[in-house]
């Protein structure tokens, strides 16, 4: 069974806040749920599937279903970090194709900014029962220095430079200036990125995404319902997933999980990189974007640095405009999880709702 055209994205909402000390976490989930339903032209009673991940308070979906007053016949709380919501879109399409639900609601929210969280630079404490914990925690891995090791190896293998990585931030900043809600709206230069303080070598402060409060929601529904609503229909063509790991110590940073996940998604959708006029890439760090560009086949392995340079990712300038809302690098990274907002901007592009300067 394929999910190709089995379901559509009928509603989206991105919370305008980037700093919400005056709102509770559950409240943010409710506000984005309401926003996405209004966008779709559906009501709360239409929701019969609910999807959330580790940012939602409580046990799996249970507490949020209670708080939101939902009565779903299908739930899924798959949590794989920031990309959870992409899997939710795929899983919702699968559930709809299998007749398990008709209107699926996906929510994300978080408040790391008002909580003062050192998202990328403080080692995270995990339970001792997590099997890798005792073999990693003594060495103080953080989000930043783990991605930094990927960048360091890429530079070693392919001669990629900090200046090339910086172009990714520069492109995001060119888009963010058109987004009134973006946290960082100033256009930055390559020089400003490489001269910003080193966080974890070779990554600088401006190679990192923002830390923001906020959230977003998505409504996935069956095509006949989507066609009865007022918004342009956005079809789901394909998806792939692949949790990469340390492979018993055969650690290989030359590829990411998206290499095989992408292969499956391209195959299911029946499209190829050359067909793409826009791309949403997860952008926790500049290197994250570069690795996806290579592993999804937008360029040859190792050529990502050359591909992203000289404005190739800037709308109206280059061949592959990306994250035209400013992305996580400049606009929003709610709950430290960037997957959901990437879907939102892709939907805006397909609907023709993205900023006119970035379409």
């Amino acid at each position: 069974m394929s999910i190709k055209r089995a379901a559509c994205i009928a509603g989206i909402y991105e919370h305008p806040t980037r700093h919400a000390p005056d709102k509770s976490l559950a409240q943010l989930h409710a506000e984005v749920a309401k926003g996405a339903l209004e966008d779709a032209g559906l009501s709360k009673d239409d929701v019969d599937g609910y999807f959330c991940a580790g940012d939602a308070p409580g046990m799996g979906p249970i507490s949020m279903v209670d708080y939101l007053g939902l009565k779903p016949r299908h739930v899924d709380s798959t949590d794989v970090g920031g990309s959870s919501y992409l899997l939710h879109v795929s899983h919702a399409a699968q559930a709809i194709a299998a007749g398990k639900c008709d209107v699926a609601l996906i929510t994300l929210a978080g408040k790391p900014r008002s909580e003062g969280m050192a998202t990328g630079t403080a080692p995270r404490i995990v339970a001792p029962s997590v099997p890798d914990a005792q073999f990693e925690q003594p060495y103080a891995p953080t989000i930043a220095n783990m991605y930094a090791m990927v960048a360091m190896r890429h530079m070693h293998d392919w001669g990629t430079t900090s200046e090339q990585l910086a172009w990714i931030k520069v492109a995001a900043s060119h888009h963010a200036r058109h987004n009134p809600h973006a946290l960082l709206r100033n256009v930055v230069t390559v020089e400003e990125v490489v001269n910003s303080p080193l966080v974890a070598s070779p990554l600088h402060r401006l190679d990192c995404c923002v830390i923001t409060d906020g959230g977003g929601a998505i409504i996935v529904t069956r095509p006949e319902i989507a066609r009865s609503l007022k918004k342009p229909v956005v079809n789901i063509l394909g998806a792939g997933e692949s949790p990469k790991h340390t492979d018993g110590g055969r650690i290989d940073l030359s590829y990411t999980g998206i290499e095989s996940a992408g292969r499956r998604a391209w195959a299911e959708a029946g499209v190829k990189p050359a067909d793409m006029k826009y791309a949403s890439f997860y952008d926790s760090f500049t290197i994250t974007v570069l690795k996806q560009i290579e592993d999804l086949g937008f360029c040859e392995k190792g050529q990502g640095g050359k591909f992203v340079a000289d404005g190739n990712l800037i709308s109206g300038v280059g061949k592959l405009p990306f994250n035209t809302d400013g992305g996580g690098l400049c606009s929003n990274h709610p709950a430290n999880r960037g997957g959901l907002t990437k879907v939102l901007e892709a939907v805006r592009q397909l609907r023709g709702e993205a900023h006119p300067r970035c379409r």
């Binding site: 630079t121 005792q134 103080a140 891995p141 190896r153 070598s201 018993g248 110590g249």
Partner: protein, 129 residues
């Protein structure tokens, strides 16, 4: 030389891994090897992650080379994290210590040293040969 003075979180061993940490306290670095397929792996498991065969502890020469690294500058005391490819086969996460952080390089040969964690138990780290 840059002093490495930071709070090293003590590993919390369990029945599956106690022998690894006992060996570290005694100044030895162990890996696990599969009795069925013969493959070494890291981090150590009771059942092989490649074939689910039974495994046994294996001594290493404590040496390897740096596969990748990063110097964490935004920290109270800067430190170097790395993946070290052991001569024994697997690659493990560790820290590079007792050296000039600006001279760490991918491919550099390193050897194990044992540093005390915040409860006194020793943790394997690496320093340039």
């Amino acid at each position: 030389m840059m002093a490495t003075k930071r709070n090293i979180l003590a590993p919390v061993a369990n029945v599956e891994t106690q022998a690894y940490w006992d060996a570290a306290d005694a100044g030895r670095l162990l890996v696990k090897k599969c009795l069925a397929c013969g493959e070494p792996h890291f981090y150590p498991r009771a059942l092989c992650p490649f074939c689910f065969g039974e495994t046994e502890w294996q001594e290493t020469n404590g040496e390897g080379e740096i596969y990748s690294f990063s110097v964490m500058r935004r920290a109270e005391a800067p430190y170097a994290i790395a993946f070290v490819k052991l001569d024994a086969g697997p690659t493990m996460m560790s820290n590079i210590v007792d050296c000039d952080f600006d001279r760490i390089a991918i491919g550099q040969r390193v050897k194990v040293v044992f540093q005390p964690s915040n409860n006194g138990h020793k943790v394997p780290m690496f320093t340039p040969v």
